[in-house]
């Protein structure tokens, strides 16, 4: 299989899963969370680049560690989660710069899907399929939780359990996302397809579906453009996604 096709497939699956999951994060007002989580994955990304293993594998433990620290600090201090997130993610970025090999800084910050290995690609695609599958399963209950936690609890839905699964999915998609768009841009791959879809959808079914499609489409367009322009794919994906959003504003009724 050609390297281009491998990159394209990985990008499409990661972009689609991110858009799909992002459609659950938008009503929960959590679209931005993927940003700081991506930033604090940077030390893991740096380690992966130094030792030459899959950067998603490097990123994942740091994302989980970050989520855990924010949760722990929130419990201990009762300070707002967003302030604690700022503490944790900025520290992550700072630490990463102590040992991030400077010639690979671009790959770490804005991603590099162009050189993905076969094994890593297969692994990423499998995880994306699994993420999308789980998102589809939890979608109705999560939607109810997003609408009203009280109603959900009165229906005997275990809100804590669903939120935990949901957070885990976010951690996974961020770890995969850094491969495509780097540690800086992960918020965009979950947020933009969802808001674009939100502008156009008339029902939940359309909203979910369009978020997935816009995630796939922007990844595909970005990776194609990268092939022809030799600009990095990550930023091109985000710009394509933003362009679709702009179009959706004018189509919105």
């Amino acid at each position: 299989m050609s390297q281009f096709l491998l990159s394209l497939l990985s990008g499409i699956f990661i972009g689609g899963a991110a858009g799909f999951l992002g459609s659950l994060m938008l009503p929960k007002r959590m679209s931005l969370v993927a940003g700081p989580l991506g930033h604090l994955a940077l030390p893991g990304i740096a380690l992966a680049l130094i030792y030459g293993f899959d950067i998603s594998l490097g990123a994942f433990p740091f994302v989980i560690l970050g989520i855990f620290l924010i949760w722990l600090f929130e419990r201990k201090t009762k300070l707002p989660a967003e302030a604690l997130t700022a503490v944790v993610f900025a520290t992550g970025v700072a630490v990463a710069f102590f040992f991030l090999p400077i010639e690979q800084a671009e790959a770490a910050l804005v991603g590099d899907i162009s050189s993905v290995h076969l094994g890593d690609a297969v692994f990423a695609i499998a995880i994306c399929v699994a993420i999308s599958f789980v998102v589809e399963i939890i979608y109705p209950k999560m939607t109810l939780i997003n609408v009203s936690e009280d109603i959900a609890k009165s229906q005997k839905i275990n809100v804590g359990k669903y939120n935990l699964v949901y957070l885990l999915l976010i951690a996974l998609i961020v770890a995969l996302g850094v491969k495509v768009v780097g540690g800086l841009l992960t918020a965009a791959i979950v947020a933009i397809p969802a808001v674009t879809s939100r502008n156009l959808a008339k029902s939940l079914a359309q909203y979910k579906f369009l978020a997935l499609i816009f995630g796939i489409l922007s990844s595909a367009v970005g990776i194609f453009l990268s092939q022809f322009t030799s600009l990095p794919a990550g930023p091109l994906i985000i710009v394509s996604s933003a362009f679709l959003f702009l179009i959706s504003i004018f189509l919105k009724r």
């Binding site: 007002r29 009203s148 109603i151």
Partner: protein
Amino acid sequence: MDNAILRVKDLNVKFDGEEVFIGLSFNVDEGEVLAILGPNGAGKTTLLKALLGIVPYEGTVEWREGVKVGYVPQRLPFIKDVPLSVKEFFRLKNASENEAIEILKSIGLGEEILGKKIGDLSSGQFQRILIGWALASDPNVLLFDEPLAGIDIGGQESVYNLLEKLKEAKNLTILFVTHELSVVYRLADRVLCLNKRMLCMGAPKEKLTPEAISNLYASPIKFYQHKHQEGEIS
């Protein structure tokens, strides 16, 4: 000859160490319509949540075995963040399209509303949809938080009529929270006056004397001034 569907005994709820209400004890009979009346901040919504078991409490809340409770919260500010159609909203509760249509009929709405977005409904329509949604699992008991709040006058009348109809048509037990006296007189068999503790309970016409009402709506009761009186309550 015990017809109680709900028994509440010595119910207390605290948030962060501060008491929301204390010492509530009452029973609700099957088929009864109970109004929970009180000023803002009296603990009415929290009482409903305690009855539903979604906030931690002390004391006992005992529903008759096998009872199904439907809940209609006061506001759903986030529902407009999700582009839900009415049909999809019902599907979140596993209600089939036919079931949804049946329910819509019983709440006076046509099936053409199924395709509408929740965000595009009028306040009265939305409230009726919420009530219909609570009816979808065939509950024996409905808990309502301010069923008429924030609805325009025309919509209010339709919700009134619906509640009266439900009261007669089904053997539903209804508990609703309100701060409006008119709703209590019109719908309730009994009223529970709540302002941090129970101030009266019984038929509205007997219990809601001018004195009782001014007492109920007097400035919020401070527990520390009244602790020595706890034994006298009830």
